[in-house]
C-alpha cells in the first residue's frame, strides 16, 4: 500500500480541490438555478470523491471497506426515500400538513428576521407563530368567533369542562382520575384564596407555574391573553354568593 500511495501527488489534488471550491462559490453568480445546483452539489460530490480516494486512500483499500461505506450511503438513501413522502411532502392521500402549508404561505416574513435582543424574546415570538399555525386546528373556535366576540362559554365547554365540568363545579368526566381534584369554581372559598392574576397565569402557563397541580396544562398556545382574560371573567360567573 505504501508503495502505491507514493504515486499520489497530494499538492496537486489539493490544488484541484481549491479550484473546485472557487467554482462552487462562483456558480451562484450566474443566477441560473441548474448551474448553481451543479456547481454546489455536483462539485461537492467530486471534491468528496477526490478526498476519499486520494487522501483517505480508499481506492487502494480492501474491498470490504468500500462495501461497508457504500452500505451506509445506501441506507441513508433508503431512510430518505421512506421518510420524505411524509416529511417533505405537505399533502398526500387523505391528509394535509396544514401547519407546514401555512408556514410556506406565510413565507419568510414571520418565520425569520425578527431582530431579537435576546433569546427569550425570540422564543416568545415563536410562540406567536405557534398560535398562527395552530389556527387551522382550532378552526371551530375561529368559526364561533369570526367577526364577533370571543365566546368564553363555548371555549370553556370545549376545553375546560372535561375536568372542571360544564357547571364549573370541578366534576367533569375527566376529573375522576385526577388527584388533586380540579378546582371547583362554584366554591366561594376557592375565590377567596386566588387572585385573578394567579388564575390567568394558571391558564396560560399551567398549574405548575403557580405551584398548583401540574395536571392543569398550559393553554397559552391555544388562547391569546385577551381570550384568557375573557375566560377568567367567565369563571367568575360560576361563583356562588
Amino acid at each position: 500500500m505504501s508503495q502505491e500511495q507514493h504515486h499520489i501527488n497530494y499538492v496537486k489534488i489539493w490544488a484541484i480541490l481549491v479550484v473546485l471550491l472557487v467554482v462552487s462559490v462562483v456558480g451562484p453568480f450566474f443566477g441560473v438555478k441548474w448551474i448553481t445546483l451543479i456547481t454546489a452539489f455536483g462539485v461537492a460530490v467530486v471534491k468528496a470523491r477526490l478526498v476519499v480516494q486520494n487522501f483517505m486512500h480508499l481506492r487502494i483499500e480492501k474491498r470490504i471497506i468500500k462495501w461497508a461505506l457504500g452500505t451506509t450511503l445506501v441506507l441513508m438513501l433508503l431512510f430518505f426515500a421512506g421518510t420524505a413522502p411524509d416529511v417533505m411532502e405537505h399533502h398526500g392521500v387523505n391528509w394535509t400538513n396544514d401547519a407546514a402549508l401555512a408556514a410556506v404561505e406565510r413565507g419568510v416574513e414571520e418565520g425569520h428576521g425578527e431582530v431579537a435582543d435576546d433569546g427569550h424574546e425570540a422564543v416568545g415570538e415563536s410562540d406567536d407563530g405557534h398560535e398562527a399555525a395552530g389556527r387551522r386546528a382550532v378552526e371551530h373556535e375561529e368559526a364561533a368567533t369570526a367577526g364577533q366576540e370571543f365566546d368564553a362559554k363555548a371555549a370553556f365547554n370545549t376545553t375546560c369542562s372535561v375536568c372542571h365540568g360544564t357547571a364549573g363545579d370541578g366534576k367533569g368526566p375527566g376529573a375522576v382520575a385526577l388527584d388533586p381534584k380540579p378546582a371547583n369554581f362554584t366554591d366561594s372559598a376557592f375565590w377567596e384564596t386566588r387572585t385573578d392574576e394567579e388564575i390567568f397565569k394558571a391558564i396560560k402557563e399551567g398549574g405548575a407555574a403557580v405551584g398548583r397541580s401540574p395536571l392543569m396544562v398550559a393553554w397559552g398556545a391555544t388562547y391569546s391573553d385577551d381570550q384568557i382574560h375573557a375566560l377568567v371573567a367567565y369563571l367568575k360567573t360560576f361563583r356562588k354568593k
Binding site: T72, F79, P85, V87, V93, S126, A133, A177, V217
Partner: protein, 567 residues
C-alpha cells in the same frame, strides 16, 4: 502444567491493577463481561419490579401495591416507559450482546482478549454512567419520563405536555449514552472478529454465535446513527426550545417516528440474532448434530439483517403516514418472515437424527424455539396493514412483542447462562434446581401473555392505568384475565429466587467444572474453567483445523471433534 501456570502469572504481571481494582478497573474481556452481566441482571430486577407494580395496578386498580404504594397515573406512565426502556436498552442489550459478546467472542475465536481492551473498559464505563442517569431520572422533580419508550414528540419534546421536564431530558441523555457505549463496544466486536481470529480459522469456521453478535453490532451501528442525530434534535427541542418536531415552527413530529423506527425495528434483530446464536450453539451440542446448513443459517441471518432496514414504517401504519407507503412496507414486512421462518426450520431440522439430551440449557434452547414461534406468527397479523388497523397499540401488540422479547432476553439469557456457567465460574449448576426454575418460569410466562392476547382481541389498548373509564373494557370477565396475568407474573418472579439460590449455592459449593463438561467443539471449551487472564498460555494459543459443528462424525470414536484438535 507448571509452565502454563508460570505463563498465566507472567501475563498477569503485565496487565492492569491488582486487588479489588482488578474487578472495577480491569481491561480483561471476561471481567468486563461480568460487569455487564451483573449490571444487566440488576436492571432486570428493577424492570421486573416495575412490571410487578403496574400489573398489580391493572389487576386491582387503586390498590396500595405492597412495596410501592398507590400508583398515580403519572407514576404508571413512568413505570411502563422505563420498564420498556430498561428491559431493552439496559437488560437485553448489555446481557445478550455486551456480556456474552465480551465473554465469548475472544474465547470462541481463540484470541486472548478484545483487540482494544481499554476501549472495551471505556464502553462499560459509559454504559454504567447511562445506568446512573436513567436511575436518577426516576427520582427527579416531576418524576420519571412517562411518554412511552418510543418517546414520540410533541409529548416528549415539551415539559408543558409531559409534565416531566427534567425526567424526560435525563431519560433521553441516558439512552444516548447507552448508544455511545454500544457503538464503542460494537466497533470492538466487529474488528475483533474480523482481524483477531485464531490461525486457521476461516470465515466459515467461526461459530455462529460470534457471527451473529457481530452481525447484530453492525446492524446496531448502521441503524442507530439517524436516531442519535434525532436525539440531539429532541434534546434541543426540550432544552433550547427549538422546533424540530413542532409543526407550528416548520418541524414535523412524524420525522422522529421515522428516525426512531429506522433504528427501532433493526433493534429487534439486534437482540434476536445473539439469542438465535446461543440457541444454535446449544442445540448442536446437545443433539450431537452438525448444524443443518451452516451457510444457510449465516446467509438467512444476513438477509434478515438487510431486510430489517426496509420494514420500519410498519410501526406507523396508522400514525399519519401516507397510506400508499403502508402498501410498500406491508410487502417488505411480510417478506422478512421468510428468512426468519427459514432460521426456525433449520434449527428444528438440526434435531433430526440427533441424540438429544434434555439438560437445562437444552430445555431453555428448545423453549426459545417453541415460544418464539408464537411471537413470530403473531407478528404477521401486525405486519399486514389491513389487520393492523385493528391491532395497532392493543394488548395484542404487547403480547406479540413480549413473546419475541421474552424468549430473546430472558429465555436466551438463561440458556446461555446455564450453558456457559461452568466456563464462567468453574462450577457446575445443579440440574434439578435448574429444571424447577425452568418450568417455574416457562409455565407462568404463558399464563401472563396468553390472557393479554385475548384482551387485545377485545380491543383493549395499551398504556392505560385503569380500564374502568372504558365501559367495554371494564367487564368482570376481562378483569379476571388481567388478574390471571398478574398472578402468573408474581409466580414467575417468585421462581426466580430458585435461580439465584442455585447460582449462589453452585458458586460456593458446586461441583468443580472440567474443561469441557458438555463435550462441545468450540474453542472456549479447550481452556480451563474459568479461563485465566489471556485465556490460553501465550505460547499455546489455539490453532483451528475445522468447523465448529463436527459432531458424530462417522468413523470417529468420540462423537465430538474440537476445532483445535489436529487429528
Amino acid at each position: 502444567m507448571s509452565q502454563a501456570v508460570a505463563d498465566v502469572q507472567h501475563t498477569q504481571e503485565h496487565h492492569g491493577p491488582q486487588g479489588i481494582l482488578k474487578y472495577l478497573w480491569s481491561t480483561d474481556h471476561k471481567v468486563i463481561a461480568m460487569q455487564y452481566m451483573f449490571t444487566g441482571m440488576f436492571m432486570a430486577l428493577i424492570g421486573g419490579f416495575m412490571a410487578y407494580v403496574f400489573r398489580m395496578q391493572l389487576a386491582f386498580p387503586g390498590v396500595s401495591v405492597p412495596g410501592f404504594g398507590v400508583v398515580s397515573p403519572g407514576e404508571y406512565n413512568s413505570l411502563i416507559t422505563n420498564h420498556g426502556s430498561i428491559m431493552i436498552f439496559w437488560v437485553a442489550m448489555p446481557v445478550l450482546i455486551a456480556a456474552f459478546g465480551n465473554f465469548l467472542i475472544p474465547l470462541m475465536i481463540g484470541a486472548d482478549d478484545m483487540v482494544f481492551p481499554r476501549i472495551n473498559r471505556l464502553s462499560f464505563q459509559v454504559f454504567f454512567l447511562s445506568v446512573l442517569v436513567i436511575l436518577t431520572s426516576l427520582f427527579v422533580k416531576g418524576g420519571g419520563f412517562g411518554g412511552a419508550w418510543t418517546a414520540y414528540p410533541p409529548l416528549s419534546a415539551s415539559g408543558a405536555y409531559n409534565l416531566t421536564k427534567l425526567g424526560s431530558s435525563l431519560w433521553l441523555i441516558g439512552v444516548a449514552l447507552e448508544f455511545v457505549a454500544f457503538l464503542l463496544g460494537g466497533i470492538n466486536f466487529i474488528v475483533t472478529l474480523m482481524n483477531a481470529r485464531a490461525p486457521g480459522m476461516r470465515a466459515y469456521d467461526i461459530p455462529i454465535l460470534p457471527w451473529f453478535i457481530v452481525l447484530a453490532s453492525m446492524l446496531f451501528m448502521l441503524s442507530v446513527g439517524p436516531l442519535i442525530a434525532g436525539a440531539v434534535m429532541l434534546l434541543f427541542d426540550q432544552l433550547l426550545g427549538t422546533g424540530f418536531y413542532d409543526p407550528a415552527r416548520g418541524g414535523d413530529p412524524l420525522l422522529w417516528q421515522h428516525l426512531f423506527w429506522f433504528f427501532g425495528h433493526p433493534e429487534v434483530y439486534v437482540v434476536l440474532l445473539p439469542a438465535m446464536g446461543i440457541v444454535v450453539e446449544i442445540i448442536t451440542t446437545f443433539s450431537r448434530k452438525k448444524l443443518f446448513g451452516y451457510k444457510i443459517v449465516l446467509y438467512t441471518a444476513v438477509a434478515t439483517a438487510v431486510l430489517s432496514f426496509f420494514v420500519w414504517a410498519h410501526h406507523q401504519f396508522i400514525a399519519g403516514i401516507d397510506p400508499r407507503m403502508a402498501n410498500i412496507f406491508t410487502v417488505t414486512t411480510l417478506l422478512i418472515s421468510v428468512p426468519i421462518a427459514e432460521l426456525c426450520f433449520v434449527l428444528i431440522a438440526t434435531l433430526y437424527g440427533g441424540s438429544i439430551r434434555l439438560t437445562t440449557p437444552m430445555l431453555w434452547a428448545l423453549a426459545f424455539l417453541a415460544e418464539f414461534l408464537i411471537g413470530g406468527v403473531t407478528g404477521i397479523f401486525l405486519g399486514a396493514s389491513g389487520a393492523d388497523v385493528f391491532f395497532h397499540d392493543t394488548y395484542f401488540v404487547l403480547a406479540h412483542f413480549h413473546y419475541t422479547f421474552f424468549p430473546i432476553a430472558i429465555i436466551g439469557t438463561f440458556a446461555a447462562f446455564t450453558y456457559w456457567f461452568p466456563k464462567m465460574f468453574g462450577k457446575m449448576l445443579n440440574e434439578t434446581l435448574g429444571k424447577i426454575h425452568f418450568w417455574g418460569t416457562i409455565i407462568p410466562f404463558n399464563f401472563i401473555f396468553i390472557p393479554l392476547f385475548i384482551l387485545g382481541l377485545h380491543g383493549q389498548h395499551r398504556r392505560i392505568y385503569d380500564y374502568n373509564h372504558f365501559p367495554e373494557l371494564a367487564t368482570p370477565a376481562l378483569q379476571h384475565l388481567r388478574i390471571v396475568a398478574t398472578v402468573a407474573l408474581i409466580v414467575m418472579l417468585f421462581f426466580q429466587l430458585v435461580f439465584f439460590f442455585n447460582v449462589i449455592r453452585s458458586w460456593i459449593s458446586g461441583e468443580k467444572a472440567p474443561r469441557n463438561p458438555w463435550k462441545a467443539n468450540t474453542l472456549e471449551w479447550t481452556t480451563e474453567s474459568p479461563p485465566p487472564h489471556g485465556n490460553w498460555p501465550a505460547d499455546r494459543m489455539p490453532v483451528v483445523y475445522r468447523g465448529p459443528y463436527e459432531y458424530s462424525v462417522p468413523g470417529r470414536e468420540d462423537d465430538y471433534w474440537p476445532q483445535n484438535s489436529p487429528t
